[in-house]
């Protein structure tokens, strides 16, 4: 079985600082493996442990993004591909998915299962996975909580939506976006050594049979016209009543009457 896991290096969005010009200060912003992609990797590695499989980690990004591939290798992935080219940069979700899908077609061949994290913490679109599945014309399952069974040509998953928990079977090949809270394994020493010695495959524009106007900023149907800090619609007064709880309650009651229009 061949499993491909798409992973992404993201800035740690829990710790964002702003420049004076209202842009994100990228200095000192730590890069991490997108958390749900860690879950996707762990899911793949558990399938490998249980059923035996070759796990290939793939990322697209600048050279530094190789770090997440090394992490994947250290955790137990068997192979790694870095898609890197300045022509790929500025891509929206469709243009990103075109490159990922083309790598599968051109370099990876028969793939039984593609795993992705449900969403990345920077862009938060959740669109790249389904878009890759659409380009490869294979089925997709999103919001997957668990892969229950993985056989020759079929798998069964548990999927969780707003109101239901569903059990679904799919014919392979299939693309799955995982949304569980699995804790990714920590690499062991020999994993680190293997990852250090491993030569990741690097693929650029020339390595893919894809036209330039289909990738990067140029190939993206959407573009950002404006970015801004969210406006704060709720800037009111704060009063300190730590010494007088009854007074605090009285003021709260008055505000509730006021805000809810309860005044007689």
């Amino acid at each position: 079985m061949n499993i491909v896991v798409f992973i992404k290096q993201v800035p740690d969005t829990t710790d964002i600082k702003w420049t004076e010009n209202n842009t994100i200060d990228r200095n000192g912003l730590e890069s991490i493996l997108n958390p749900k992609d860690g879950v996707a990797l762990e899911t793949a590695l558990r399938l490998k442990d249980r059923y035996g499989a070759k796990v290939t980690a793939v990322t697209m990004g600048p050279f530094q993004a190789e770090a997440v591939l090394r992490l994947a290798l250290a955790m137990g992935a068997d192979d790694a591909f870095l898609l890197t080219d300045r022509k790929f940069s500025g891509a929206d979700t469709v243009a990103t998915a075109r490159v990922l899908a083309q790598l599968i077609k051109d370099k990876l061949g028969d793939t039984d299962l593609i795993l992705c994290g449900q969403v990345a913490i920077d862009g938060e679109t959740g669109q790249v996975g389904p878009s890759v599945a659409a380009q490869l014309n294979i089925p997709q399952l999103t919001y997957v909580d668990e892969i229950l069974m993985f056989e020759d040509n079929k798998l069964t998953v548990k999927k969780e939506t707003e109101q239901y928990i569903e059990t679904i079977s799919a014919e392979l090949p299939v693309l799955i976006c995982v949304n569980s809270e699995l804790e990714p394994r920590l690499p062991k020493i020999d994993g680190y050594i293997k990852a250090q010695q491993y030569c990741c495959n690097t693929v650029n524009m020339e390595g893919l049979t894809i036209e330039q106007d289909k990738v990067g900023l140029k190939g993206s149907p959407t573009y950002v016209s404006k970015v801004f800090k969210p406006e704060n619609k709720h800037q009111g007064e704060t009063e300190n009543f730590s010494a007088d709880s009854a007074a605090a309650a009285w003021h709260l009651k008055e505000k509730i009457i006021d805000y809810m229009g309860l005044r007689k």
């Binding site: 790249v128 878009s131 016209s225 969210p230 709720h234 009111g236 009543f241 605090a248 309650a249």
Partner: protein, 339 residues
């Protein structure tokens, strides 16, 4: 002039064949947006299989749809991504709307990128603002970087597509007297069967029900996620006829179910009044509450970021304030405004 015109809204049905709220919210918003477009057609696309479409059509008419398109087939009884996507693409190719809007639900987020990729067009995810700009294009605004940055996205191709967060817009009655209904015959369509739904179970409804049903929501933070704190919050909620939500940190203590989580990774709420109790106010939480009409915050820590996003803030101990407040609200409910 472009061959594309009008807005198409994907109408999602739940398993009881009721229209889910976000679909009507988008239909209402589309009627408003269409005023700024040359072609003011707002189509509502229903995919599935019902025995009686009359109540669905009636609701869509009352929400202002100028056209209802019904694509029905026995094979579409259950939602299967590829089959729904294929059906939607066929209809979009025939109708050629300039804008396609889909609710950002589990189904919508699954379906929309499949459609947009197949149509070779752009899609903006999880929007919290929609407008038509001076050039008549859809300007879709969405939070990114955990809600710390807003981005307005435009699309170079047609149709311009967006998914929109539930509870972003209000569904309003706006009866259309001239709604037309079109049934699409799918009997010649070939669907594949690579995906099979084996079974489904309904999740337990949270003990408070759906948070969007309440005019007041009380948000519980980690600071009050103890037995006593929750008891007080519940009693206060009872007196205020409020729903009970929780921050991510509070959910992680195990005291609240995940379905009550409010914020970026939980639900977005838009009550008339949100009362944040013992919530520090991480941006990820603020994103989920900022469209509340008013926000009150109670926190012991005067430096808690929540105070920067509150219309009124009280620095104080919830455990001590709550009993007084509960009594005062009980009196208020009896008609005593001066307790």
């Amino acid at each position: 002039m472009s061959e594309f015109g009008g807005i198409l809204v994907y109408i999602e049905l739940d398993r009881n064949l009721n229209i889910i709220p976000v679909s009507l919210e988008l239909l209402s918003k589309s009627v408003e947006l269409a005023q700024k477009l040359e072609n003011k057609t707002v189509s509502a696309l229903v995919i599935g299989r019902c025995d009686d479409y009359a109540p669905i059509i009636q609701t869509l008419k009352e929400t202002g749809a100028s056209k209802v398109i019904i694509a029905q087939d026995d094979r579409l009884r259950e939602y299967i991504t590829q089959n729904y996507s294929k059906t939607a693409c066929r209809i979009i190719n025939e109708q050629k709307p300039e804008i396609v809007l889909i609710g950002a639900t589990c189904q919508g987020r699954d379906l929309a990128p499949r459609i947009s990729t197949s149509l070779n067009t752009g899609l903006t995810a999880d929007c919290t603002g929609l407008d038509i700009n001076e050039e008549g294009k859809l300007a879709a605004t969405r939070p990114t970087f955990g809600g710390q940055l807003m981005a307005t996205i435009l699309c170079k191709t047609y149709p311009q597509m967006a998914t929109v967060r539930p509870n972003t817009f209000k569904a309003v009655q706006n009866n259309n007297e001239n709604t037309t209904v079109e049934y699409i015959d799918l009997s010649n369509e070939v669907f594949d069967n690579k995906i099979e739904l084996l079974n489904f179970v309904k999740k337990f409804k949270s003990d408070t029900g759906n948070l969007s049903d309440y005019e007041i929501v009380i948000g519980c933070g980690k600071g009050i996620a103890t037995e006593k704190g929750i008891e007080l919050a519940k009693e206060l909620a009872k007196e205020l006829k409020a729903g009970l939500g929780a921050s991510r940190a509070a959910v992680e203590t195990g005291a609240f179910s995940k379905s009550l989580q409010v914020g970026q990774t939980g639900v977005t709420i838009t009550p008339k009044l949100y009362i944040a109790c013992g919530i520090s106010g991480a941006v990820q939480h603020i994103v989920g509450i900022e469209n509340s009409e008013k926000i009150i915050a109670i926190n012991k820590d005067e430096n808690a970021p929540i105070f920067k996003s509150a219309d009124y803030g009280i620095v104080g101990d919830f455990f001590e304030i709550a009993p007084h407040l509960i009594w005062k609200i009980q009196e208020l409910n009896k008609g005593n405004y001066d307790a």
